[in-house]
Amino acid sequence: MDLKLGHYSKDGIEVVDVEGEIDVYTAPRLRELLIDLVNKKNYQLVVNMEKVEFLDSTGLGVLVGGLKRVRAHDGSLDLVCTQERILKIFRITGLTKVFGIHDSVDDAIAARKAEK
């Protein structure tokens, strides 16, 4: 399936809902959204990947790019993901140590608030 993107603000954090497949074809759209959000001064991001069906290294690159962008503004980019098949690629690449990965959007927001 194609990629569906949406976003909303919750407790001062911008939540990005991602649904479908993130690959070499669709990843540029996610990249553009993350860049747009950062350009609009949203530096606290949570990317909800619970409905992502496929993620490859191109998608990982976009998430890493987004993380670097928000960190340049002392921001954060946390992920919500409980799917083993998606988590696997984070483990293989060692990126579980780079991203905060949470079980729910509420958990991600609570963890971010607790760090402040």
Binding site: E21, D23, V24, D56, S57, T58, G61, V62, I92, T93
Partner: protein
């Protein structure tokens, strides 16, 4: 001779098609359900790498995917026609895509190969034979019996 062979023009949109075909053939060949996600991701990574290489060096040439099942293993070979040295460099000095505001927009090309190595039971990377081109052969050891076609009624 491969069980199924596919060629596609080097466009990102076709990588998904290649993934779907590889997964379907793997399932049909009796590859364990638990391995299908690995096959899908590894084939996607190999095809993405090939598409990027072709778009830089030979956008008019097709990419070839050969899928073979035998009693021992299921094998996928993705072959490109890009200059081999370029294709196999683990990490180019320059980012694959230009930086925007100092932020690299893509992980180094070697990450895709690392992911493939982490997914497949065996990976072999070789020159395609004529100087240009690289083939990535990925295989998974068979853990269940292949699906035999149903006898006609």
């Amino acid at each position: 001779m491969p069980t199924v062979e596919v060629t596609f023009t080097p466009l990102p949109v076709h990588v998904r098609t290649a993934r779907l075909i590889a997964t379907a053939v793997a399932r049909r060949s009796g590859v364990d359900e638990s391995l299908l996600d690995e096959v899908r991701l590894a084939v996607g990574e190999a095809c993405s790498r090939a598409v990027e290489a072709h778009r830089k060096h030979c956008p008019g040439e097709p990419i070839r995917v050969a899928l073979t099942d035998d009693p021992e293993q299921f094998e996928v070979v993705v072959t490109d026609a890009a200059p081999a040295e370029q294709a196999l460099s683990p990490a180019t000095p320059e980012p694959a895509e230009p930086e925007v505001d100092g932020v690299i927009q893509q992980l180094p090309p070697g990450v895709g190969l690392a992911v493939i190595s982490g997914l497949a039971d065996d990976v072999r990377i070789a020159s395609a034979g004529n100087g240009d081109g690289t083939s990535i052969a990925m295989s998974w050891t068979r853990r269940t019996e292949p699906v035999t076609p149903a006898a006609p009624a």
